[in-house]
Symmetry: C2
Subunit: 395 residues, 2 copies
């Protein structure tokens, strides 16, 4: 009596969620301190002080309706103006309030953008690059479009340009990238961005149509070693940015992000209008109003990334010394480790016997690897090394 697709989607819990629930059960049996749960990407570093301060100030000085009333569907004008100014100062671009559409987080940014861009359901294609965030497939399908996967560059976790070139067809509508990447933690290099831009320009000309680059940037500010994520539209004009404050301000539950359609994008006005329509169609009336204003009070601020960096070094060095093979991450809070056997699902099962919860990357389109999320207590990392050693000794 119900939608078969929705039933299946609702009944199939993600591997990550499964592991997380298992961890909770195990914690009840063997004690929380003896379970090493690296499954979930839930920020552990607290939100910066400005979040609380802005909330207190709003509650003290503003009327109920001003704080909690509907904003316009695109988001509060003053907030969008603030976002534009902040971006212009930071990236030397020329954005206006009306380039921004504020959303209920990254998932909403993506579902809305994909729905807006899909003109011919069943035909239009979106390309994702392994390893990718598994929900991309769900969001593309929701728009009625087709998913095309480019296999992972397991050498450097950049993009295999020849594979991408082959994946682009006359039906390609857009390409989703995610740098810093979940799950690899890798940041795309200058060369990758230039090569990507050149390829997309070439193929756009070849097919005489714009190819939209959708840059999913929830980890933009979670970067290490003085790396800075550039403004992607500066490399490739037809770039739409999907952003979220879940990670940068440690507000994942509050659901706040935006879609940025710069004027450089071909058909920018039409896309923005279709974004407004898609938001309405999907039931998004406006993004949560108080947190829109909180974001305005926290422009340029982030959670303390140094704490993640400590974890990163601790875990990377620890596992490296034990002989695990892993890419050194430049961003996000994930370590991508090569499984000690071909089948990463088995490997993850073996890890569970030591109460070590790591996510096999099969669902990320990259079999043979596991994702280790290090937004955790550093003490847990230290306690986990013994389990990691025992796991290593199995092989």
């Amino acid at each position: 009596m119900v939608s078969k697709e929705m039933y299946e989607l609702g009944s199939k819990r993600s591997v990550i969620r499964d592991l997380f629930e298992y961890g909770m059960q195990q914690a009840a049996i063997v004690g929380r301190e003896n379970v090493f749960d690296f499954s979930i990407g839930n920020p552990t570093v607290p939100a910066p002080e400005c979040v609380k301060e802005t909330m207190l100030k709003l509650l003290e000085t503003s009327k109920s309706q001003e704080i909690h009333g509907y904003t316009s569907a695109q988001g509060d004008f003053e907030v969008r103006k603030g976002l534009a100014e902040y971006m212009n100062n930071t990236y030397n671009c020329q954005l206006k309030a009306d380039n921004f559409y504020i959303t209920c987080g990254a998932a909403a940014s993506l579902t809305i953008t994909l729905k807006a861009l899909t003109k011919h359901p069943e035909e239009d294609e979106f390309i994702i690059i392994a390893p990718y965030f598994p929900e991309y497939k769900v969001f593309i399908k929701n728009a009625g479009a087709k998913v095309v996967v480019v296999p992972a560059d397991t050498e450097n976790f950049q993009i295999k340009m020849d594979s991408l070139e082959k994946a682009i067809t006359p039906n390609t509508k857009g390409i989703i990238i995610n740098s810093p990447n979940n799950p690899s933690g890798v940041v795309y290099s200058e060369k990758t961005l230039n090569d990507l831009a050149n390829l997309l320009k070439k193929k756009s000309e070849e097919y005489n149509k714009p190819l939209y680059l959708i840059s999913d940037e929830p980890y933009r500010e979670i970067v290490y070693d003085d790396i800075q994520i550039p403004y992607i539209p500066a490399y490739y004009e037809n770039t739409i940015i999907c952003y979220s404050y879940s990670k940068s301000l440690s507000l994942p539950g509050e659901r706040l992000g935006y879609i940025l359609v710069p004027e450089s994008v071909e058909n920018d006005k039409d896309i923005y209008t279709a974004v407004c329509g898609a938001g309405r169609s999907l039931g998004y009336v406006c993004a949560p109003s108080m947190f829109q204003k909180v974001v305005l009070g926290c422009l340029g601020k982030t959670s303390d990334v140094a704490l993640y960096d400590t974890n990163r070094k601790l875990l990377y060095d620890g596992l490296n010394n034990m002989g695990y093979e892993c890419v050194k991450p430049n961003g996000a809070f994930y370590l991508f480790v090569k499984s000690l056997e071909e089948n990463a699902v088995n490997f993850s099962e073996n890890a569970k016997t030591f109460n070590l919860l790591v996510v096999p990357a099969d669902d990320f389109g990259c079999p043979g690897y596991v994702r280790i999320s290090y937004c955790v207590d550093p003490e847990m990392i230290k306690r986990s090394f013994d389990a990691f050693q025992k796991l290593k000794d199995l092989y």
Copy 2:
């Protein structure tokens, strides 16, 4: 290059929004005090004190991650448990936490429910009863299903049961009701609910399939004259409730509501699972986490409905005395007034010449009427009478 449907949806501003923007422009010209804007249903009564108190307490006593972290997709367990207990105490029902799926407001509740129930896109039909909230059509189309409209009972604004009976076909999946009603302000009577339940039971048997009643209840607590809205599943078992805190707690911008699938509903577990899937597909990761907890701190509390009641009486008596024909509303904050000419759009245009903004009900499926939203400052109502008189004198 974009979705035609989404583009059209995004470019066609609703009549309500058009009037509201016009009002802002006029205010800049003739002064805010000389514009009588009855267009928008944005609660003016402040949120009850418990909202602020709960927020302050959370900020003081809880850790950042506990307040702002992801909750489970269905919503925080403790919050859902609290909702179940509150409903059980209030309506003498037997609900559990797992009957509730917390959403980003009423629009999300509806889009998710409709998408979950639509098994055969292009075939499945949902019935709406005029006058109806215009976005119902958008949400039904988003699910891929067909909209079937039952014309208004302009006598009493209850339901014309014979018209509804004719509208039900073997493809009918569900019927959406909304009592207290936007835009009529009418509450369905005991007789209407019994007749509706009997009709739906009869037709379910005839077609040997469940017909789901979707009860959209954002105005459940905005009722007058000691009226109480009953628990609809007590009349008809196959009822799914879509709720929102936008009006009852004056939190429209915060986007919080729920879907309630009671155990009495046929295939309740499957529906709940499909609801989880649809929420995921549409990009709703979880409802805003802090306001989930705010709701838990405000169970059973509402904004001060007495203030709306003052407006209701003032406006109803005032317009009635002038010779306007209108239904006395028992709930919500709308007065539904018969246009003084057949064409309510013209009538609304004429009203604009006196800076009086009232919404023609054509888009609500009820031509010949206008909706007057009285969630406004009572002083504005008093100042508006002169304009209403001038408008009357035109005819």
